[in-house]
Subunit: 130 residues, 2 copies
DNA sequence: CGGCATCCACATGGATACTG
DNA sequence: CAGTATCCATGTGGATGCCG
């Protein structure tokens, strides 16, 4: 952890049960970021830069504290997100992407681009959030 | 369904609860392919072309009939996979990617490339050099 | 502010067995 | 061959409340 220095530790290994299969990197990567809110969190950090807990919570409308906390913990374990305490009083934390996390941007943006191209807007949308 | 032709129906809509947010396409796309085996199935179909049920089951080592069946049904509903009965006796089915499914290839390959670049092999011993 | 504790509902996936 | 039908364990997320 705490690799703000620029050098990164080895990340998750290929699981043994699919090693050798050419789809193994696919499913392993999907497992890393495949939880419901992980891509969104990564996208927020890509777009907005380092953020505090409640900043993320506000950004990602509808996510609960527990789920955000769990997700961030999971992302931190996977060395995708870095957690840094930037102030003790008042207590402030800053989440940012590690080098590994940042390298996921092609996937995240590929998802976004696909969505923009292939998903249609809801018709009954009354614009509520700007 | 069953548009093997050159023109596709509108696919899933942007959900109302996140419409307007710039991360909304991200999470919506993630929801489409974010199940455990979806990326692998899509990858198999991209690499191997149209396949039968048991072909996929053999390819994707460890997946059970039920999960594969559920996944394919889900992918079919989402117009990512096309199911075609190619023979009644003996009963044979062929699964293939729709245009929408095929258009997901940048995401799938982005996942694979990331995995190839950032994941280490399980039996590789040159991992803990810090 | 930035969480964690708890409880609960539901979704997901695995194992096994069986069918047209 | 191409699935279904169960049953069950676990995962995941939501709601609420509390704490340092």
């Amino acid at each position: 952890m705490s690799d703000t220095g620029g050098h990164e530790d080895p990340i998750e290994k290929i699981p043994v049960w699919c090693a050798g299969e050419d789809w193994c990197p696919v499913t392993t990567t999907a497992t890393l970021i495949g939880k419901k809110w992980h891509p969104v969190i990564i996208h927020r950090l890509l777009e907005h830069g380092p953020s505090g807990f409640n900043e993320l919570k506000e950004d990602v409308d509808g996510i609960s504290s527990k789920v955000l906390s769990d997700s961030l913990e999971d992302l931190e374990e996977k060395q995708i997100v870095n957690r840094e305490i930037i102030s003790e009083r008042p207590f402030r934390v800053q989440y940012s992407l590690t080098h590994h996390g940042d390298s996921l941007s092609p996937i995240i943006y590929a998802m976004r681009d696909w969505g923009l191209e292939h998903l249609s807007e809801p018709e009954d949308q009354t614009d509520s959030i700007v």
